[in-house]
């Protein structure tokens, strides 16, 4: 496990400059605040968090779709964040993406063949026949057939469309696949099919996944590691099983508790406990102390003034919470 990571993100900031009509100066909005992550080749990092936590901004930054404010993204040997927004073709081919909504992520005026072959057309010099053969092969890989080549996206169901999007993303044999909520727009039975398909493909092709989702339970099956994002910060990161079974950060615990329990009595008790907690976010501007302090059930006096740094957690990984530090006073890491 001592090999170098495929992608290494260090202290990444993504900032949007919002300007309204009557303002002369733009106001910064920090979507991603000092995120550091790494993914090894062939491994899967699950990134979870509620909407607005900066997951998709992080994905967009990795894909080079939004400019990076500061920090570094290193992919293989390439320093990506220094390249502003356009990556060289050599890198571009290696990172592909599948997006959330398959009803919007496929161009409605193109045929399935055009959609899957477009990255090949742009990035390779294949002959038409070679390309056609590869497209058929890719279609079969995602359990579709060559009868579908000449059809248009509106003739397919959500799950089939997502398969087409996956086939298109796999066409260039990327080393990293960014999956931005790939199943949250699908119905539950199809979700499992797509997750299983991604699982198979990863093991067969050795692709690394950056899997973004808001459902921790879904992510933990397929992930090697899980990172939990809250308001642009990574609050906890670690081996998938440890994060899922023994969450260290209060926010991770809250995320897990958002999944309803089967036992009505237990569920009722939990709901009562949740109602007792304050449920508003810290304003993003002028933030002092821990980002989670206003929603945290176990908030300490020092959380108001001091931001916790990542502390190692027993069982692997880190969590940015003083409770973790107090439990293991000697083990400050990173």
């Amino acid at each position: 496990m001592g090999d170098k990571p495929l992608i290494e993100i260090n202290d990444l900031w993504v900032t949007y400059w919002a300007r309204s009509a009557f303002q002369l100066r733009s106001k910064p909005f920090h979507a991603v605040k000092g995120v550091s992550l790494s993914i090894k080749a062939g491994q899967t990092l699950g990134i979870v968090g509620e909407s607005g936590s900066g997951k998709s901004s992080l994905a967009n930054a990795v894909l080079g779709l939004v400019p990076v404010e500061s920090g570094t993204i290193r992919f293989d040997q390439h320093e990506l964040s220094a390249m502003k927004t356009r990556y060289p073709a050599a890198v571009r081919k290696q990172i592909q993406a599948v997006f959330q909504d398959p009803f919007s992520s496929l161009n409605p005026s193109m045929t399935v063949e055009d959609i899957i072959s477009e990255p090949l057309r742009v990035h390779t010099k294949m002959s038409n026949d070679q390309r056609r053969d590869l497209v058929v092969e890719l279609l079969e890989l995602v359990s579709l057939s060559k009868d579908h080549l000449k059809r248009h996206p509106h003739e397919f169901s959500g799950g089939q469309r997502q398969r087409i999007a996956i086939a298109s993303a796999l066409a260039l044999q990327p080393k990293l696949l960014v999956l931005d909520e790939p199943v949250s727009a699908l119905d539950v039975s199809t979700q499992n099919q797509i997750i299983n398909l991604l699982y198979e493909r990863r093991d067969a092709l050795g692709i690394a996944y950056m899997l973004i989702a808001h459902d921790l339970a879904l992510v933990h099956h397929i992930s090697d590691r899980i990172a939990v994002m809250y308001l642009g910060h990574i609050v906890e990161e670690g081996p998938a099983d440890r994060v899922y079974k023994n969450p260290a950060h209060p926010y991770t615990k809250a995320l897990l508790e958002a999944v309803p329990l089967l036992d009505p009595a237990k569920q009722r008790a939990r709901r009562a406990a949740r109602k007792a907690q304050p449920a508003y976010d810290t304003p993003r501007d002028a933030q002092v102390g821990c980002p989670y302090k206003n929603r945290c059930a176990q908030v300490l006096p020092k959380c108001q003034t001091q931001a916790p740094t990542p502390f190692s957690v027993k069982g692997g990984g880190v969590a940015s919470c003083f409770l973790v530090a107090d439990a293991q006073p000697t083990s400050e890491a990173l």
Binding site: K93, Q96, S104, S105, N107, P108, S168, V178
Partner: protein, 314 residues
């Protein structure tokens, strides 16, 4: 695609039939009597009967309609009540004038409207966007005949770059044709280019927010390929729908702009025919105009089907 064309062509038959009935019966319902106009105040009752007989107006209206329809189907729209010129010849003589005016202004509207709309959509909230939006509002608010008079005052009278009035056929001199058609086409195309610019902008902004644009960029496609292949083709779908009736509006507007520039097109022919109650002429002009509008709509439907796979019958 062939099926789409076939379906549309079959749907035209009842449409054209209804239009022909309406055209014929409306002109028959016009107040006043063309015979009175022809014989004048001094006409006697015998003269009145004679003229009525000669114009074939003694025959019941239903059989007159079928006679007219039968001849119209063979390309004979009858002869003018007043100068015995075949209606078809008169219309065909004026038609190229109006068509070239409409076509050039449609071309201007498409080029200006698309360029402004694309530039505005790709730079939202920039000064380009604001200028285009302001220009589009202004363009739709200004009446075309007034804009035409301004153009004449500035470019024809003061600068003398273009002739102020008249029309040179394309076959006589392409250069003079272009000079004579530029100002009226600009005047006519103004409001349509504004309408198209608005439509292009909003359609493109909508498409740019779609995930398939994000996906195309994420796959590493060049900006130009993304804009022209992915954005524009999908954004053009609503634009083509607008274009269809913009061209129809242009055709109607041409009749007015022709008056400002003293161009002898279909407009002046129609106005004099109405003034004289020259019924065969009015019927002929209306019928030919309807044919042109239907042809334009058929063409835009075809383009629509080409751009939008969902519109094709499966």
């Amino acid at each position: 695609m062939l099926r789409l064309i076939g379906q549309r062509l079959i749907a035209l038959i009842p449409l054209l039939f209804i239009v022909s009935v309406l055209t014929f019966s409306f002109t028959a319902l016009l107040p006043g009597d063309p015979v009175d106009l022809i014989i004048g105040d001094e006409g006697t009752a015998e003269q009145y009967e004679m003229v009525r007989e000669r114009l074939g107006m003694n025959v019941p209206i239903v059989s007159r309609y079928f006679q007219w329809l039968g001849r119209a189907a063979q390309g004979d729209l009858g002869t003018s009540f007043f100068n015995s010129v075949p209606v078809m010849d008169a219309v065909m003589q004026r038609l190229p004038v109006t068509i070239s005016l409409t076509a050039v202004s449609a071309l201007i509207a498409v080029i200006v409207g698309m360029a402004a709309g694309i530039a505005a959509a790709l730079n939202p909230r920039s000064w380009i966007d604001r200028l285009a939006t302001f220009g589009a509002t202004l363009g739709q608010a200004i009446p075309n005949f007034w804009f035409g008079i301004l153009l004449v005052a500035f470019f024809a009278v003061s600068l003398r770059w273009f002739p102020a009035t008249g029309f040179t056929p394309l076959s006589t001199s392409p250069w003079e044709w272009l000079r004579s058609v530029t100002l009226p086409a600009l005047a006519l195309g103004l409001s349509s280019s504004a309408a198209i610019a608005r439509q292009v902008r909003s359609a493109m902004v909508g498409v740019l927010q779609q995930d398939y644009i994000r996906a195309a960029r994420a796959q590493g496609l060049s900006r130009r390929r993304v804009v022209f292949k992915h954005v524009l083709k999908n954004a053009l779908i609503p634009v083509v729908a607008v274009l269809s009736f913009q061209i129809t509006i242009l055709l109607g507007g041409a009749l007015i702009v022709e008056q400002v520039f003293a161009i002898n097109g279909l407009g002046s022919l129609a106005i004099s025919a109405v003034r004289q109650q020259d019924i065969p002429m009015i019927q002929g002009i209306v019928l030919v105009s309807v044919f042109i509008v239907v042809a334009i709509q058929l063409t835009t439907d075809m383009i629509y089907g080409f751009l939008n796979p969902k519109a094709r019958p499966s």
